[in-house]
Symmetry: C2
Subunit: 480 residues, 2 copies
Amino acid sequence: MNIKPVLYVVGLFLMLLGVVMVIPGTYDLIAEEGGGAGFFQAAIVTFVCGGVCSMSTRFTLFRLDPRQIFLLTTICWMAVSAFGALPFMFVEDMSFTDSFFETMSGITTTGSTVIAGLDQVDRGILLWRSLLQWLGGIGFIVMAVAILPFLKVGGMRLFQSESSDWSDKIMPRSGSIAKRIVGTYLALTLLCALGYWIGDMTWFDAINHSMTTLSTGGYSTWDASIGHFKSYWVYWNGTVFMLLGSMPFVLFVKFARGHTTDLFEDSQVQTLVGFMVALWVVMALWLTFEKDWQFFHALTLVAFNTASVVSTTGFALTDYATWSLFTTVIFFFLMFVGGCSGSTAGGMKIFRFQIGFKLLQLQLKQASHPRAFLVQRYNGQEITNDILRSLVAFSFFYGLLIALITMLLSALGLDLITSMTGAITAVSNVGPGLGSIIGPAGNFIPLPDAAKWILSVGMLMGRLEILTVLVLMTPSFWRN
Amino acid sequence: MNIKPVLYVVGLFLMLLGVVMVIPGTYDLIAEEGGGAGFFQAAIVTFVCGGVCSMSTRFTLFRLDPRQIFLLTTICWMAVSAFGALPFMFVEDMSFTDSFFETMSGITTTGSTVIAGLDQVDRGILLWRSLLQWLGGIGFIVMAVAILPFLKVGGMRLFQSESSDWSDKIMPRSGSIAKRIVGTYLALTLLCALGYWIGDMTWFDAINHSMTTLSTGGYSTWDASIGHFKSYWVYWNGTVFMLLGSMPFVLFVKFARGHTTDLFEDSQVQTLVGFMVALWVVMALWLTFEKDWQFFHALTLVAFNTASVVSTTGFALTDYATWSLFTTVIFFFLMFVGGCSGSTAGGMKIFRFQIGFKLLQLQLKQASHPRAFLVQRYNGQEITNDILRSLVAFSFFYGLLIALITMLLSALGLDLITSMTGAITAVSNVGPGLGSIIGPAGNFIPLPDAAKWILSVGMLMGRLEILTVLVLMTPSFWRN
Ligand SMILES: [K+]
Ligand SMILES: [K+]
């Protein structure tokens, strides 16, 4: 395999990353925060390394085959994490392990953090964390739009179910779709920031939080997370935009172009909204009657935190793991769910549950009426053998990966709850786990370095739909 | 639907159950244990009720359609649990809830118990518990042989993958197969009892434990379970026969008829044995080096307890949940695995993992070589859309059922570990869970009554491959 074109593109991405580092650097200079120099050093190192990488591998024929794209995707994400870690090292004197973890957690929009005392941290660093998540979120969507369909063109069955949403739409080339999606993403981010600002956040807090809300990332500028702002308006603004962040962005593009019904008629969106509302009612009533909470207060806290976990954002509003045993168990299972495909959210994704549920219904009908001929469709498409295979393979390895990471973490001496929820929260890109260490009120600092590296791999694999990374580890990938 | 033939068969089963109750009753009379009268009362009530049920619905045309068989299967299992509970009520004055739980746990070969102080309990009751598991075990295999293929004949896709082992064998009618399987089951039980007796068990203990070993049930006659017998011979005898109990019994029938290679060449058996040996080496080495255990001692304890959990037997040899965090996590995941299809074991079953793994391999190969044409086979059969659908439907609801039971248990005030492992251990028919209440050293007595009923439903659904019960809850089942 010729890896030169791969390195060329990776170099371009690093140069871009270097340029972005100038933003928090400049902010620090203007706000006299003291972190400016560190950012500019990091920017120069990153830009130069990227430049050298690109220049030395520049070539004319720019055609990538599927295998090169697989390699490119994984290497890009890893290189950005490695260089994106530099500001944390230069400005905050953090170790490479912690810096890499924080960056990987950022660009995969996971949001698990190893920084405590956010209230005292350099504000450029806070901005950098938000920027990483914002870029990671849009990077993920564009990847789903511009890269995955290309892999399909090459006969790729792997992402057929993921990208099938695209194939049947009358849309021009993916480049222009990508541009429109970026525009929509930017517009929604500004709207969200405006909402937060109206809720009495400062502009700095509003912009940071809107970037990490839309990207379903979940980094905050305060240790108390969103709970720092005592405002129902802020909480509901967050709830709405976290859910928007976990819906297919292509539908927003259509919405903006006048096709408003597509959004409301989308099967994933309907299921997501219906599921959330049902959940809110059950949990809010439970807390009202069992715990004597005031109903609207309960509803707000439930809505925000469940939206946070299902959208895989990971903001915490009070330590929800201490509410009650029943609600804790619900939060545990919500970590698997995830948002819609084509959004910034992680997790198993709504459509996989929908297909599982539809097949279950079909099986049950077939059982009592064996002679009936039933074909299963999803979103108008027949669920073919290919889609089923990919579904089984994905779900199977999703479970296996979580089991494997849980075992490795426990071998490092972590307890069952910490190991298991740590694995789930990483692979699903949620952010916080459960238990006293990494729960909503906790932090990932106390974990051993080895655990941070294991979780970094889990976050990366979870973000790249697992198989994209796994395929690099097979001998047949490297054979011609 | 005409439910008369269903009630007729259920009545026959109850009459048989009444007759079997005479065995522990007679034992109690001879051993002067005092429980005799209770058993005979229960036997009479059961026999008479069964007789009335049968006589009143007797009819000539005996033909059952698939829907009647579904209904029959579930009602049979429930009726046997209800009447099998009578001896516990009459002899030990247990509540109906506890008695029903203990019986359901018995005939589903789960082995979760609500009886403490086994060392002091009426010995006829101990024998009754073992008999319930032994009958449940053989009942489950015969069901897989004689009932599931019949459902398939009716166009039933549901169990195609389960029963496909049968269709391609040159075997006479299922009746004679069933007889041979019962013979093999009996022979293996006697062999196992002989092994335990050589290891210095009394005949009473040897026969009770061999019945609960072969059926992968796990009821013991002592509070310390198998750990009561301080004998490596006993432990290894148990390990071997628990694993035999979780292998396809049709292979033993063939083995006895001279086709010895079929057993060793079977894909499920190979995977099971290979997996166990690898697991033993890893865990025994871990305990030797990390915990300074003596190697052979560690190997024995690891082999016995992992075989116990994977075969879904549930005997405990020391409180393995306290060995170390790493091994506890392994035991947690082992609760899902289960034995081979066509055995007495529960769980997800080995072949489902094999298919998942094969599809994953296929996807990865296809990803890097998009133009290659790859067909996936399992045991020589192509993995068709039907099989995939049934696999997805089963696995999906397996997960959903565990999540649902976990939530219900936590709503009753049980902690996350107890709720979750309680749900898994019930649906997988393992027996013990983890945590301080229902762990290997614990007992299900402290659970609230509602939890016991919920777990009873879980055990039943797990045993009947879930969909068999679930289909009764769909409106289309009751429509013509
Ligand atoms: K997140
Ligand atoms: K069992």
